[in-house]
Subunit: 355 residues, 4 copies
């Protein structure tokens, strides 16, 4: 006989992010589109971050992301006594590593002003060094001439909005009117702003969600509190830089932060339906039928407000199969509120379990 001695790698890789293999993120594609896992907001030593740009590529690679943008601040460069300002540095340094790592690298920068308009990321740039000047409007216009997607960052950030509530000011309306605003962060770091859903639906903008990380990703978003960094899920025609860009301008996104999925109902519903499958009843007795719901995704779903006689709430844990025991007296459709799938400031997805 032999004793088992091969160490299992599952746990090693789960806890030890340095090993150069990619995690498989279980966030399914939706009909017609591939689901790209993206983070469009992070910093390096070239502004007020604490890591070298290649770390951002390595982190994203290991975490199984499809696309990132390094978005150092244009106007905030506190390390300039040691590191001369170079607004394209992170892009230049990271480009090749991203290619070798099968990651889509989006050239970006963060326009960093007081509120209004606050901070805005310009994504899909060709040259970030030109985004300087007194007039933030002109700077944004300049970015858009380069083809940029303009994202309004953390609109409810307490340093700029002490009550935490996002507000649109004249300049935001002016940007909107002239097609110079394309998305807003619903989620940023460990915060999220429900009101952003109202803005995005009203003005048909992309719902965005990003880490805005300045430190070490694996230290900021770590077990047991976090299983993943905040992400923007982009529904693209294919996994390419240009398809990603097209999808973002078309607003085909969802925010994914903590256990929350948020965005337009159309995408939320489609995504939820790909995550779960309801099995046929496998057993019954005098009183009840038994069936199982499989959640093949990394997102747990919290179903609440079930119909009378049915379980009031059902938790569909991530990557788990959940058993439902249902009274035979229940004849109405099994419609639940999915508490953590937000489709509006005060709305959540309604889902029917068809067994």
């Amino acid at each position: 006989m032999k004793k088992l001695i091969i160490t299992s790698l599952l746990i090693v890789l789960f806890l030890f992010p340095a090993i150069a293999q990619r995690r498989i993120v279980n966030l399914p594609d939706i009909p017609g589109y591939v689901t790209l896992k993206c983070d469009f907001h992070m910093h390096t030593v070239f502004s007020d971050g604490n890591v070298w740009p290649l770390n951002r590529v390595a982190e994203a690679y290991r975490e199984g992301l499809d696309a990132i943008s390094i978005t150092d601040h244009i106007e905030l460069t506190p390390k300039k006594d040691y590191i001369p300002v170079d607004l394209n540095a992170a892009w230049k340094i990271s480009q090749n590593a991203a290619k070798e790592g099968n990651l889509i690298l989006v050239h970006g920068a963060e326009i960093t002003r007081s509120m209004p308009p606050g901070h805005l990321n310009a994504l899909f740039l060709t040259d970030a060094s030109t985004l300087t000047g007194d007039s933030v409007y002109n700077v944004i216009e300049n970015a858009v001439k380069q083809g940029a997607f303009i994202q309004w960052n953390h609109p409810g950030w307490k340093s700029q909005q002490p009550d935490g509530i996002p507000r649109m000011y004249n300049i935001h309306y002016r940007l909107l009117k002239n097609g110079l605003l394309n998305g807003i962060e619903f989620g940023n770091d460990t915060e999220y702003y429900p009101l952003v859903l109202t803005f995005c639906k009203k003005y048909n903008l992309a719902v965005m969600c990003n880490s805005d990380n300045h430190g070490i990703m694996s230290e900021t978003f770590a077990l047991p509190e976090y299983t993943h960094r905040p992400m923007t899920l982009v529904f693209a025609r294919e996994r390419s830089h240009d398809s990603l860009k097209e999808a973002m301008f078309a607003g085909r996104t969802l925010a994914y932060t903590g256990d929350i999925i948020a965005g337009k109902e159309e995408y939320a519903k489609s995504f939820f339906n790909q995550c779960i499958s309801v099995g046929k009843p496998y057993f019954e007795n005098d009183k009840n039928i038994y069936f199982e719901i499989t959640n093949k995704s990394d997102v747990p779903f919290f179903l609440v407000n079930g119909p009378s006689g049915a379980p009031g709430s059902i938790t569909l844990a991530a990557n788990r199969i959940t058993r439902v025991v249902l009274s035979k007296k229940v004849t109405v459709p099994l419609v639940y509120d999915v508490k953590n799938v937000m489709t509006g400031e005060n709305e959540v997805l309604k889902a029917e379990l068809k067994y």
Copy 2:
């Protein structure tokens, strides 16, 4: 803004086995068959185990198994001063819970004799109480009359074979000749016996692998050393008691213990091919091409003895995507030995990576 407060369930469920949801075990089906995850050997307080039978059902349910058999010893009942001998007790107590939990419960018992023939499990019984008597041959014959599948347990167990090497004795040949032996444990608890593969291939028996647990499953097979209990993978036409039985008599099984998969080449190859997929090259430069291999399973695969110029070894971590950087000078097929997929006592699977 709001701070994230929903606790992620992923980690809770991973570490906290008491929550009543099933794990999704990533062990894919193979063409033509569903892969049933089974454990046909465990004990309760009705012999020398330390738990009540319902615990065995609950453990298997949470761990995502498809079928179990509780196989208390016929001849070893050390708790009989407190618990009267009832050889069908575990079966009677567990039946209903198994139905409610969508688990296939196989009625079993362990015939427990000194070597030879050692210990043998009789699976798919109708009444274990009849399996007593001096002649072990008669007892086995009796079991087979009930339709039983006979599994020889831990043939290299040091308590019965001090050198740890399995040996077939006259009685084993007699059982074989009369169709009274159907499978042998390659894996038992944390041990495994490579020579069993030789026996199984020669006599066309099912390769078996089981926990033989007497205590608490989650304590015995726990992180970081173990990610799962030992299992027999059975390739059945469908997920049912009768299909399971048919598949076992047909020998369509693989052993899965620690990181080792072992069994007949036909099933090992088919299973491996369903676990991994090799992507098209996504990048190349002057010297190298880059492609990715996705391992969608819970089993890591350790590829060694690569061709000259290619990476000598490649670890395909479980549930991970592995990048391969290949010199453009390599023109031969990428054939590797899969070190932890055993197809014989001294043979492992050969696999070609077709990118």
Copy 3:
């Protein structure tokens, strides 16, 4: 050079409870007494539990406890069709293992009646088989004649008190008056009842806290939610059966459940003071002084309601050193409420940090 290959055992033992070594529980002694970590309430297959008695000894050993009592129900024996009733069985089976494991085993049983008086544990019995009869008062009297300590269990258990609020009935007052009630469970399983502190202080009873476990301890109280089972901390003259008994009758106890310590102020204060030490300032600048607080215990302490100008709250994480940065303008004593050290239904410990 050599590569490190010795696996560190720290994590193995932390997560893998089966290895037969004891955890060191960091709950300090207090001046004059040793702190015994105890659990006086748990079940086995001899009533409605699911494990064999020896498991209870093994669990307590590994978890570093000093004393346990197995307290199977007198009147609730749902497994009696398979296991004949024997009210002393767990005690007989466990005695020797406890001695070999350096564990104090207290002979106990649970008198199990509807409310009032509800469930009561009789601890330090000589023969549990005599505790039967219609009159619960007579049964308790009988136990006390054996020298028993009587503990009222889970007085706010919703199955017996639907609003969750403990209430004392005539029979409780009668027991009290005749010296037949010695302690009440503040904590039971994952619940706790603040009002018990009022009862215990008023009638000078021991504040108790126990697991009441029926299943697997390591599955019920597991990371990340729990780092330990509920315990009664008993302050005894020495680590012996008789000293333990003396201390319990004298009411020298604290409850420890989750992150909560609860009991009489005298013991809570003494215990807290042994857990933490405040260092001298190690640095100062124009505005602030810097000092460190070391928490050598497994209990985190949550300090709130700090004086004006000082940090409003300070978390002294378990087994950690916490830095305090204090404005030089603060001249008042640093008195805080220790939110998780309860000394009354609505009172918590006040503690001064003397740096």
Copy 4:
């Protein structure tokens, strides 16, 4: 009743290194000295590291270290196109944070030459910018004029010694002879070099052990493989910069890497004796006596080669109590080899268990 809702911090802090509290490292003081936990070798973006200097302070703070030195390469500055060379930058940037964090910051730099003499750290510098010039001997002399302690780094590093075996060359002997070499790394990153113990004992040098980290400490030395970064334990008269320096020049150190403690027997023995305590027998029967050994440290100890009749090997797991069952027939002293406490290239500590 209330349900427990306070999340325990123990696990949070254990796994989530970003929270600003210090770990208590259980490595006891020895008689006459405090044990300082140190790492004298690490890099930042100012040479070939990937993090900003403040990260090094934050990491060390959280991990509970007492002293660190940031030792960017003098001659290897691959980021100079983006970051102008400033050999004192890490020191200037980190100084204040170290003071606020109660960390001893040692001003250091790595002299980086081909072998011989290889790489050497100069510690306790006043100005690293002067350590340039063709002659490495002159550079070292210059450092020593500043009061520096000279440490020879990773002498068996395969990039400079392909067979992994450290070798002393003429220049090393010349440095030794002139008092310009004070310590050698036994451990570096995940490697260690047993032969260094021979060198250190022969020439009375300090045995050193450091991380040499270029990336993220928490990612490089992470569970389940590592519980801590490599450290040099320095036995100082008090916890201060000057006492640290005195102790290092006096050679009062041990290396601590993985589960290995290595160094001069005098310190190894004293340290081991502070880590463990052997209790009096608590139980005996006809055949055996039972006693417990408490290991209050983070280091597991692997005792092997026990005397005849006693347990052949005993593992004293870290922060655990281990039971020993000893036959009454054993009358000889219980002397063991402590396999993981190396006192020479081929020697380990011998320890007697006096119960």
